[in-house]
Symmetry: C2
Subunit: 139 residues, 2 copies
DNA sequence: CAGAATCCCCACAGATACTG
DNA sequence: CAGTATCTGTGGGGATTCTG
């Protein structure tokens, strides 16, 4: 209320004419994508399926650490979003294949870009973390 | 164990010589990055800060929907990973600025690539979802 | 202004057991 | 083989209140 509130460094004056429409971003598909891929397994499965279709058991063994429940749920989620297809072969015993749809394949590219970034800057993140973890206990 | 288990379609024979080392991927930095960015707000804040440094209150208003708790926690997390810097100006009242570090700026690029993908394929995902939601109630 | 502290909730991960 | 069913725990995240 008083003029004390105006006593801020001039460098802080730097701001955008329009502070960026954040709600647009929040409601925008970008958030959706990260919500879908941000879980523990989705991205991993997309990358695995990027090498070609695979059967349920193959994926289960390949990921190794994922529960059947999570494997099924994650694949179903990806299928719902049209990123993965699912085909049941009525054999005995049943065989089910999963693979990337054309849409899923297009996702593979930007995903790889991010993966590359992660690999390239892994060390820097580690350093930064230990720096903060060493001087100040987080949490 | 019986030969009934061999009675699978020949198309399923298609598999990789080496089923892809998934544990490597699971333990690899890619997972870490997605864990950091995959939460509800991190990516959004990185994009916002991509337009330049901003103050706490600006961010709070810009995101609009985020609680103070989450804003602080998310910024701290990004700071810990060396993606965001934080500068306190000892004024009255205090003013705190947040901005992207050089490392954070490099992340902005692959992030944008993924964002572009999301925007471009938003409609397709929506269609796929309604397709599955219409014929088969998920969950 | 920029937070720290506290309480609470529920969505979702994980393990286990069972089935067509 | 490829799931479903069920239970349980963890913690992400929201609302509120208080403070330097």
């Amino acid at each position: 209320m008083s003029d004390a509130y105006t006593r801020v460094p001039s460098v802080l004056t730097h701001r955008l004419p329009r502070p960026v429409p954040a709600d647009e971003l929040a409601a925008c598909p970008v958030g959706e994508v990260f919500r879908r891929m941000g879980d523990k397994w989705s991205m991993l499965l997309v990358v695995l399926l990027g090498s070609g279709p695979h059967r349920y058991g193959e994926l289960h063994r390949a990921v190794e650490g994922i529960s059947q429940r999570m494997l099924t749920r994650t694949l179903r989620g990806l299928e719902t979003d049209g990123l993965v297809w699912r085909e049941v072969h009525p054999t005995t015993p049943p065989a089910v294949e999963y693979g990337l749809t054309p849409l899923g394949l297009t996702l593979l590219e930007p995903l790889s870009a991010l993966a590359d970034w992660a690999v390239r800057h892994e060390a820097e993140i580690g350093e930064a973390r230990s720096r903060h973890g060493g001087t100040r206990t987080p949490r």
